[in-house]
């Protein structure tokens, strides 16, 4: 049945100025499954994720999503306003009243940084704030582009655990990473 899939891609291809980046990319993802997109630098992983999100149109092929699929996405850019405090950045998405906020903050070691402006956080802390916002948004499908970049081993493990919990709960996950993650997932490699 079609509808058991969260997302399905058929023969995707992407050209930029008539130069092919990738061709014939197909996959399908059920609830509870994870997909790890691998590939060398510049092979088109980020582009592919953006196509799956519907931001960039593909040159060929189609992406089918389940009806009313709620998904969240974090790319290389954190989408944080560096001149605002962590609190403000969270409330920009209307998440400041979320009940899980407190505990997540202390898990990620950010409790004391709530009123610090993001520009004054360290590289890894900024990434963690961005991830925190993803954690707080309930989504059926999570798309993450190199989420492990800059995280210390502690936060790395936390992120893995969180993602696995989400997978158990029936979300889908698509991510890229150059380093091993420890999440059980289907692999696919762009060359």
């Amino acid at each position: 049945m079609e509808s058991s899939y969260l997302i399905e891609a058929n023969n995707l291809a992407y050209k930029i100025n008539e130069v092919k980046l990738f061709t014939n990319f197909s996959f399908s993802l059920k609830a509870g499954e994870a997909l790890h997109i691998k590939g060398s630098n510049g092979s088109g992983k980020s582009t592919l994720i953006r196509i799956l999100c519907g931001i960039t149109p593909s040159s060929k092929g189609k992406v089918y999503k389940k009806d009313e699929l709620v998904f969240s996405y974090l790319g290389h850019k954190n989408a944080l306003k560096t001149y605002l405090s962590v609190r403000d950045n969270i409330s920009l998405l209307g998440l400041s009243d979320h009940e899980g906020l407190e505990s997540l903050l202390s898990l990620l070691d950010l409790s004391e940084k709530l009123d610090v402006i993001v520009a004054n956080l360290s590289f890894g802390q900024q990434k963690k704030v961005a991830l925190l916002r993803i954690f707080l948004t309930g989504a059926d499908l999570i798309l993450l582009d190199e989420p492990f970049v800059g995280l210390d081993s502690n936060s790395h493990d936390l992120l893995c655990k969180f993602l696995e919990k989400k997978l158990h709960a029936g979300s889908g996950l698509i991510y890229t990473s150059h380093i091993p993650t420890g999440i059980r997932s289907k692999d696919i490699t762009l060359d």
Binding site: C53, G54, I55, T56, P57, K77, L84, L92
Partner: protein
């Protein structure tokens, strides 16, 4: 609820980024204060030059206020998130422009009317110029947003080049309105004219701008 959150967000971003908010207002004050200094004058000259300077500086300040209005959200990835969230992009554009008008356009219109009082010592003309400025600032904001959306990643020089032809008719009408105020004729005719322009573009342009932004994100 959703709209309220969007409005609150835009207000928060604008206010916290004093460069974007207080900057244009300060610059406007700077111009209006500085320009009499450059004229060695009888106050007659001064009020002659007042309106051109007022209109031009409003044009400029609105340009400044919208500089990079979409760029920040484009560069830090916020726009992509927004696109994904299935909210209406054109609604967001509308609210963003509206917020800029509220926080920059309105104060500047007030200040403009106030400076008019200073230059011409005439309350009635201030009362007449105020609504015109309110409308004009909104129109300029919309037009510059249009230019900025087109030249999103390519810098505001291009945006200015593009918007310039569109703003001039409005300036011309303002010039007419100025004469109308001075000689106390036809004032409402011109006010209604720019109001008509505004009411056409106020909803049409956000829709166009949102399509343009989508094209950029591709």
């Amino acid at each position: 609820m959703n709209i309220l959150l969007l409005l609150k967000n835009e207000a928060l971003k604008l206010v916290k980024k004093t460069r974007a908010w207080l900057g244009p207002i300060l610059i406007f004050i700077l111009i209006m204060v500085a320009f009499p200094l450059t004229i060695e004058l009888t106050s007659n000259n001064l009020s002659d030059a007042f309106y051109p300077v007022l209109f031009i500086s409003i044009l400029l300040v609105m340009m400044l206020a919208t500089e990079g209005i979409f760029l920040e959200d484009y560069e830090d990835g916020t726009l992509e998130l927004f696109l994904i969230s299935k909210k209406s992009l054109s609604q967001w554009v509308f609210l963003k422009i509206f917020m800029h008008w509220l926080l920059i356009g309105v104060p500047i219109s007030l200040l403009g009317a106030f400076f008019n009082l200073g230059a011409n010592n005439d309350l009635s003309s201030s009362l007449m110029i105020f609504p015109a400025l309110l409308i004009a600032t909104y129109i300029f904001l919309i037009l510059f947003c249009f230019g900025n959306s087109l030249s999103l990643t390519k810098g505001s020089a291009l945006g200015t080049l593009i918007t310039l032809p569109l703003t001039l008719p409005i300036l011309v009408i303002l010039g007419k309105l100025n004469t109308a105020i001075i000689f106390n004729i036809n004032y409402f005719e011109f006010l209604i004219l720019i109001f008509g322009v505004l009411s056409i573009i106020i909803f049409a342009f956000p829709a166009i701008i949102s399509r343009i932004i989508k094209t950029h994100l591709e």
